[in-house]
């Protein structure tokens, strides 16, 4: 039978995965709209807006689930200790390092791209947010695998 800590660990992974997918699905159309500007047709613009809005709602759902899960874990000292053990802390540190270097590479790429074309500030900023957040969560999910 699956124990409580194992169940919480699986729930955390599933919730983080949902959070990541929804975040990318929310931000990517928004960035595309910013980047393409007036170049997109009205139907495409509308489609991107609807996709971003739906994904944003789904992301909010997963964000609330993460907060509730954190509170649930905090009430159980045994689960809180296990789910933040030394391996998890190491995985978290590596994930943040991955996010940092992903952001450095992204910023370098953006800087180089500006020599060829003008990049709207909104696109650069939202892209950086997307890269950093997605890299951190994706790295955690990959490194936390068995």
């Amino acid at each position: 039978m699956e124990g409580r800590i194992e169940l919480l660990d699986r729930t955390r992974r599933r919730t983080l995965l949902g959070f990541l997918v929804a975040f990318v699905a929310w931000q990517a159309p928004t960035i595309a709209q910013e980047a393409l500007g007036a170049a997109v047709s009205a139907p495409v613009e509308g489609g991107l807006t609807i996709l971003a809005a739906v994904a944003g709602v789904v992301w909010l759902f997963y964000a609330i689930r993460l907060i509730l899960l954190r509170r649930e874990v905090a009430r159980d000292s045994e689960a809180a200790a296990a789910l933040d053990d030394e391996r998890v802390r190491q995985v978290r540190a590596k994930s943040l390092a991955c996010a940092f270097w992903s952001l450095v590479v992204y910023l370098a790429a953006i800087r180089l791209a500006t020599f060829a074309t003008a990049i709207p500030a909104g696109v650069a900023a939202l892209g950086g947010l997307l890269v950093a957040a997605a890299a951190a969560i994706a790295a955690f999910l990959v490194l936390d695998r068995e």
Partner: protein, 70 residues
């Protein structure tokens, strides 16, 4: 400093001899089952504190669980 490739362990054998599941051992030393699994497979090298906790739960010395390859 020893690399993880040089460190071997008998955690899986010692745990099995005591009829403990990974989950039960994890609960006793307050880590996740995945941590026990990754230690057994040599993927994760535990801290001295965790090594001592594992040794205490299994009733052996740390050297009986972990050893450096010659």
């Amino acid at each position: 400093m020893a690399d993880r490739e040089e460190l071997s362990n008998r955690l899986k054998v010692l745990r099995a001899e005591r009829d403990l599941t990974q989950e039960e051992l994890a609960r006793r030393v307050r880590v996740t089952r995945k941590t026990i699994n990754t230690v057994e497979r040599g993927v994760f090298v535990p801290s001295t504190v965790l090594a001592l906790k594992l040794a205490r739960e299994l009733g052996v010395s740390v050297e009986e669980i972990f050893h450096l390859e010659d």
